[in-house]
Symmetry: C2
Subunit: 312 residues, 2 copies
């Protein structure tokens, strides 16, 4: 696409720094398309994510490098949610006209941080300038690599529901530097049989509703079991809302929520294959359509999907 001079300068800077000779990238940036090697697989997985200043991050608080990191990390988290192995990604940036080259380079560095950490080279991109706020996005190709992709739709009544890590309060900063659970998802898929999985981007209440809807099931969550993060407790002290609400609704935890059969649930409770990452059984899959929250006192209420957008 047509480009201004500054954009070409930036593109050339990025190309000069782009790792070449990656075994999975027979042809990297600089041509009309990149070529990816899928290692004898004849299928691939594809996702796309877009982030906008003021909605998914706030440049008043987030460095451009962290924004770049997050832009690729959210797509890597999609790959984790399918238990897929990232192959490569492309990125685009819509730059506000007033921003400097140094600013743009920091975004590129942040993208490279995530690319390197998860061995997912960025093989192409597009840079445009406009009158609007900063917008950054990525599209990512992944492959199954010996693990059947785990969909949202396979949960069955009787399954146990687990989440990784702790939830809530990501707005305090974690939403910019979270670890997409790519390795953990692969590990889980190689250890047990994952019936259904999703990454927690919109918040547990909303993402569990998605998983239930896709699977045609209902679920019960035990309030006592929900792993509340320190950030959620800190936010609760600030705003007076219960920490549990933050854990259920804040979103952008980018942890994994998954359903497994009773036998695999026991195995996970006996020995956590993720070693250092917390794994918590938060409830179970039932027949029906709604998600129920069971309080510590046994009181039951419908858990409405209340995942919300951070910056509005």
């Amino acid at each position: 696409m047509s480009k201004a001079k500054g954009e070409w300068k930036l593109i050339n800077w990025i190309r000069a720094r782009t790792r070449v000779g990656h075994p999975r990238v027979p042809l990297g940036p600089g041509d009309d398309m990149a070529i990816l090697s899928l290692a004898r697989e004849d299928r691939c997985l594809l996702t796309v994510d877009a982030l906008v200043d003021g909605t998914h991050f706030d440049l008043a608080k987030a460095s451009p490098r962290k924004v770049g990191y997050k832009a690729l990390a959210v797509s890597l988290s999609d790959a984790a949610a399918m238990a897929a192995l990232p192959v490569a990604a492309v990125a685009w940036v819509a730059l506000p006209a007033k921003r400097t080259m140094a600013f743009a380079k920091q975004i590129s560095r942040g993208l490279a941080d995530a690319a390197e950490r998860f061995d997912c080279p960025i093989v192409g991109g597009d840079i445009v300038s406009g009158s609007g706020p900063l917008s950054v996005g990525t599209a990512l190709v992944a492959r199954a690599a010996g693990v059947k992709p785990v969909r949202r739709s396979g949960a069955r009544p009787g399954d146990a529901l687990f989440v990784t890590g702790t939830l809530g309060g990501s707005l305090l900063g974690r939403h910019l530097c979270f670890t997409p659970r790519v390795r953990e998802a692969r590990r889980l898929a190689q250890t047990i049989r994952l019936h259904a999985m999703i990454d927690l981007s919109d918040g547990l209440s909303t993402d569990l509703a998605h998983l239930c809807e896709e699977s045609g099931v209902a679920a019960e969550v035990e309030a006592r079991a929900v792993p509340i993060s320190r950030d959620a407790r800190q936010l609760a002290r600030k705003d007076g809302r219960p920490a549990l609400e933050h854990a259920l609704n804040d979103g952008e935890d980018f942890e994994l929520l998954f359903a497994v059969g009773p036998r695999d649930a026991k195995r996970l409770l006996t020995k956590n294959p993720l070693a250092r990452l917390r794994l918590t059984r938060i409830g179970r899959v039932t027949r029906g359509r709604k998600v129920t929250l069971v309080g510590a006192d046994g009181h039951r209420k419908v858990l409405e999907p209340r995942g919300w957008e951070h910056f509005r």
Copy 2:
């Protein structure tokens, strides 16, 4: 990623209309990633493009449906430039907050127009709202399908340079409804040996410079031979600039520029395999680094890359 209610409503509308059961799409929209079948190939090609209102289109003149069409068509044109066969695409839209659902649906319809016309289903996407101008983009996966991807870097001294169609003046409207030369590129690649190819997005002067740079060669263009479009002549009458300049520099023609050996050049001149689409020999590849324009009177001058952005 976290979404507002209106965005979910729109996503559900799009999902309900998304073609399912496409043989190349074992899993379409609605999960964390889509799954694509590559028909026994273990490589794929990947590209991404982003369009912004005020730079790549002007909503004062372009309908949202045409903008949607263009967003996918530019990525399809990248596939054409590699002589690759599109498999599927993902799209994202950054919607200005004040725009209506009907507006967003028109963009989606435009994307679907291009998807259907080129059998390239849209298998996922992201919709975000923001304070900025409309921005639409796509990432596209393609496959080689029996044709070695044609790079920009294979032109050799002695090659003939050809372009498809006619050039210049796309701003009069063609830049919104052009035909990505996917079929034509495949046809050419199956008929002759394409040494190098690029699609004309930035304008002949700039894109030929890219091709020469990547191939490490120079080129001569015969001014007399450049196929000038009616639009270029019309613009020339309006603004008093020579029509040839429009043809050389306007950009967004999305025609193909390619280099072939002398024998294949003769074959193309004897019988145009594209039947209804004009095919013009515009010059030749030489040793060196610069692109020279040879006037009708034999006068030679350096052809500077002057492709520019339409709406600035």
